[in-house]
Amino acid sequence: MKALFAILARDMGLARQGWGLALGFFALFVTLMPLAVGPNLEVLRQLGPGMIWLGAALATLISLDRLYQADVEDGSVDQLLLSGMPLEVLVLGKVAAHWLTTILPLVIVAPLLGVMLNLEGQALWALAISLAVGTPALSFIGSIAAAMTAGQRRGGPLLSILVLPLFVPTLIFGAASAASSGEGLAFLGAVTLLSAAISPFASAAALRLHVS
């Protein structure tokens, strides 16, 4: 447990520079959307939840490439393997730090952006709850692809191609749940739990491939 908290605290400290980037991207993406589709309030209300979910997925994507790359490049992974803790546990700590520092701010500002898109009352709550339940899946799934591409010099574009198809179930159930005031929330939760169960093992296995 001590090791888990140690890596969680370290990554949260190191993430200070990165979290604003994803948040800024997310806010800009949602702000630009009415400029693209026009100011019809009814159209905005219908597209809103889906656009906010898409924005959250893309913002997650741009924050993923540094998740493991720095540790692989500077040799920290070697030492992590010698810690006596299973790498899977350390991965869990890193993913938790990523979600808390980078994604949680998006979940918090999403209702404000929702107001801008003419969502109100019940719809705002549904949006916030769906994001809170579903976005951990984005971090967990993204972690696998980030671990696979961590050793690549130009891993970013490859990462996008790997990770966006994997975001499909989360995006479908997340946007559906947000748009329908909570229907499909159970499926969204299931996607999150499934990804949480698989991701530490898959990410750790991918990371081990970079050590030789």
């Binding site: 090791a3 400290g13 200070r16 540790d71 500077d74 070697d78 030492q79």
Partner: protein
């Protein structure tokens, strides 16, 4: 800890780097790996903690595979694992917690003469200071084997002296060191392997 290496060979790509290398290391022992650039010093050292699998031969640590005993090993390689925005003290505290050490971070900083710069971010440290900090990590958690790849290259004379003293202290308490270097390090009574030339004692 007893390390038994039997018939180690390393093939990388098409090149056979070394073949049929056998040696044992006992508590208090030391291994010095020497040789020209590219003869496989780093490859040999990376086999000891199990990062790299030998092309042939076996490594047993207390009768187990290196991966099973990984939590008894310190490894210092070329890349130093320092984060530019973390301070020296934060770096050592982190590894002390992660490696389940006794929490003697200030003592380790003092031994390596880093107390005055303990709160500076690693990004502004000089090459020698960075190396001192990496070697201070060896002191914040107890391990039975230190695997050190070119540990002293950026160090000044005073820091090299600290390194030699620390290695001697560590060996007197039963620790084992495995060092690759091209410098003349005063590590006495060591098994010396000159890669490309065979084994000498």
């Amino acid at each position: 800890m007893l390390i038994e290496c039997d018939g180690l060979s390393c093939v990388r790509g098409d090149a056979a780097l070394f073949q049929a290398l056998s040696f044992d290391l006992e508590p208090g022992g030391a291994l010095l790996v020497r040789g020209a650039n590219g003869v496989g010093k780093t490859s040999l050292l990376r086999m000891l903690p199990g990062f790299l699998r030998p092309s042939a031969g076996t490594i047993l640590i207390d009768g187990e595979t290196p991966a099973d005993r990984a939590d008894r090993i310190h490894f210092v390689g070329h890349s130093d694992g320092l984060k530019a925005s973390q301070s020296a003290r934060q770096h050592l505290s982190f590894w002390s917690n992660l490696l389940n050490g006794p929490g003697n971070v200030d003592e380790a900083l003092a031994i390596w003469g880093l107390t005055a710069i303990a709160n500076l971010p690693c990004g502004v440290l000089s090459a020698g200071q960075r190396r001192r900090l990496v070697l201070a990590r060896l002191l914040v958690a107890e391990r039975d084997l230190w695997v050190l790849d070119e540990p002293t290259a950026p160090l000044d004379r005073a820091a090299s002296k600290i390194f030699i003293d620390q290695v001697a202290t560590y060996r007197s308490k039963g620790g084992i060191v495995a060092v690759a270097t091209h410098l003349d390090l005063a590590i006495g009574n060591a098994l010396e392997i000159r890669l490309g030339e065979g084994v000498q004692i």
